[in-house]
């Protein structure tokens, strides 16, 4: 396979914050439609990687190529416009608005041209938002102020907002963190269902190894800023380094 076939390529990425190395010669190629999970203990460099892909941080060296175009120097807005959206570990939603209005903003931002004399609450927009709400099973929360909504719902809304723009790559930063353990699997099911049916490339950070195994077809393990394993779940999870540095620790944490 030639390089051109990959939707996203990270080539020789290095990044350090003072004495801390957050990315050490990272090379990752991702194919269109893959569901990739990033694992590793806190501070291993997963979120830094995500922040570099979305333009929040600039790598010290190396480049990030999306659809054969170098996006390393673009800002988050430009990258989002090109087709890479993301959700956040702590949902970044507009607190005083309702869930419906949050999606309305997301929808508004996805359009290139605006009319200043047409209400944002048009029938056409309303229909589309209802469809999204449906997909994420959020209908009953539509008209409630989001600051009052439970954690799982906030997470879903955050992801739904990222999806409104119909991105080609969706990055999810710990989609199930901050919710109770019984809620995790139903939440992940809803997410997976909502994202299915499109040829969407999904990259997500996750600590729960069951979720990682069930919902991704490829795992990339980080340790101390480096990629220590990359492959299907069997390969990666049976890797001795991964067991020593990643899963061992995670299991300890879970206990």
């Amino acid at each position: 396979m030639t390089n051109a076939n990959y939707i996203l390529r990270a080539e020789g990425i290095n990044k350090s914050f003072g004495a801390v190395t957050a990315a050490n010669d990272i090379n990752i190629n991702i194919q269109s439609g893959e569901k990739v999970s990033l694992i590793g203990s806190n501070g291993a460099g997963k979120t830094t990687f995500m922040n570099m892909v979305t333009g929040y941080l600039k790598p010290d060296t190396g480049s990030i190529i999306f659809e054969n175009k170098d996006i390393t120097q673009l800002n988050p807005r430009q990258i989002t416009q090109k087709g890479i959206s993301r959700s956040f570990q702590i949902p970044q939603i507009f607190e005083p608005m309702t869930a419906w209005e949050n999606l309305l903003v997301a929808l508004g931002t996805s359009k290139k041209k605006h009319s200043y004399f047409k209400s944002a609450k048009s029938q056409e927009n309303a229909d589309y938002i209802d469809e999204i709400l449906n997909r994420f099973a959020l209908n009953e929360f539509a008209h409630r102020q989001v600051s009052e909504l439970p954690g799982g719902v906030r997470k879903l809304l955050d992801i739904a907002m990222a999806l409104v723009r119909k991105p080609k790559i969706l990055l999810l930063d710990e989609p199930t963190s901050g919710v109770g353990s019984e809620e995790k699997y139903p939440l992940m099911d809803t997410i997976a269902k909502a994202l299915s049916g499109e040829n969407l490339t999904v990259i997500f950070v996750e600590h729960d190894m069951d979720i990682v195994q069930n919902y991704s077809d490829r795992i990339i393990a980080f340790y101390s800023g480096s990629v220590i394993a990359d492959g299907n779940s069997k390969e990666v999870l049976s890797d001795s380094k991964v067991q020593e540095y990643v899963t061992g620790k995670t299991k300890l944490k879970a206990n």
């Binding site: 807005r77 959206s85 507009f94 608005m97 903003v105 004399f117 209400s119 944002a120 609450k121 990222a162």
Partner: protein
């Protein structure tokens, strides 16, 4: 449903404007003057409210207020242009243009830095204006009497004519702003206020929104300045002074950003307090204003607009039932 909202809005506005226009014929002249001034101040404060919706407060709207005032004044004295409507319109366009130039410079700043930088601009202008003797220096200058479509109204109706124009003007501005606030860019501005980073990550530009809001605010500020200058018949560098800007901020905080009519009501309140305390307590007007300001921030932190909105929401709920 949405069209109905706008139809209602326009009908209600025209109704309210008609009442005010008719009322103007019967109320005493000083009140006509006070309302006209309140509209001038309200227009500037509406500009700040527009910025507030995007999360910014300008402490230097005196800058555009003065530019608008001086534009109208200089066109009147130098170019012999005395048509009030034309002057208001030109001032609006010109200061809007100035806003478009300065906007990108200021749009990078937030919070206190934005407030202080806008203050710095207004004070630079103040410093320049008091130094230019050709336009009256610190005394300012007198504006020629205004005409309306080429007609110079008799002295007894001059105030009323300006009142009439400003009522219609404020009505049109209010309706247009409501359209803007409810539109998609207007909604994105509210989102910028809450979480700028998220807006960027959704692919929209907080910068563009801010520049647009700043330009609108500048245009409105200039129009308010022109109206105030025409109403007073006189302009001076005080227009750009920081205490003048402080009054605009006060009106917008008192009104809150939820309702447009609330801004004019807040401006009227300020003007009434000013003229009453000016008449009965001429030496302590600042004290009264200060106490009024503190009390309103403590007791109605979300502004009187929040009462308006609650009231309208209730009304709508009843209708729907």
């Amino acid at each position: 449903m949405i069209n109905k909202f706008y139809n209602n809005l326009i009908v209600q506005s025209i109704f309210l404007m008609s009442i005010l226009i008719i009322m103007g014929l019967f109320i005493p002249n000083w009140l006509v003057f006070v309302i006209t001034k309140a509209i001038a101040y309200g227009l500037v404060a509406l500009g700040i409210v527009t910025l507030m919706r995007g999360g910014l407060v300008s402490f230097g709207q005196g800058f555009v207020f003065a530019i608008g005032g001086y534009t109208a004044g200089l066109l009147g004295t130098q170019a012999g242009l005395t048509d009030a409507i034309l002057l208001l319109f030109i001032s609006f366009l010109f200061t809007g243009f100035v806003g478009l130039i300065i906007g990108p410079l200021l749009a990078r700043y937030r919070d206190i830095f934005f407030a202080m930088l806008s203050l710095a601009f207004s004070m630079v202008l103040y410093g320049v204006l008091i130094k230019i003797d050709a336009i009256g220096g610190s005394d300012g200058f007198v504006l020629p009497e205004s005409t309306y479509f080429g007609i110079l109204p008799s002295t007894e109706y001059a105030d009323y004519m300006l009142y009439l124009v400003s009522i219609i003007l404020s009505g049109i501005v209010s309706i247009l702003l409501r359209y803007y606030y409810n539109s998609t860019p207007g909604l994105i501005a509210l989102a910028v206020r809450e979480n700028e980073l998220r807006v960027e990550y959704l692919g929209a530009s907080a910068f563009t929104v801010t520049v647009l809001n700043f330009t609108i605010a500048a245009g409105l500020g200039g129009m308010g300045g022109a109206l105030n200058g025409i109403a007073l018949g006189h302009i001076d560098p005080e227009f750009s002074y920081w205490t003048t800007s402080g009054e605009f901020v006060f009106i917008s905080i008192l009104a809150g950003y939820l309702s447009v009519p609330a801004v004019f009501l807040a401006a009227l309140l300020l003007e009434l307090v000013r003229s009453f305390s000016g008449r009965y307590f001429p030496d302590t007007w600042q004290l009264i204003l200060g106490v009024f300001l503190i009390l309103s921030i403590i007791y109605i932190p979300t502004g009187i607009g929040s009462f308006f909105k609650k009231f309208m929401d209730k009304l709508n709920k009843k209708k729907n039932k």
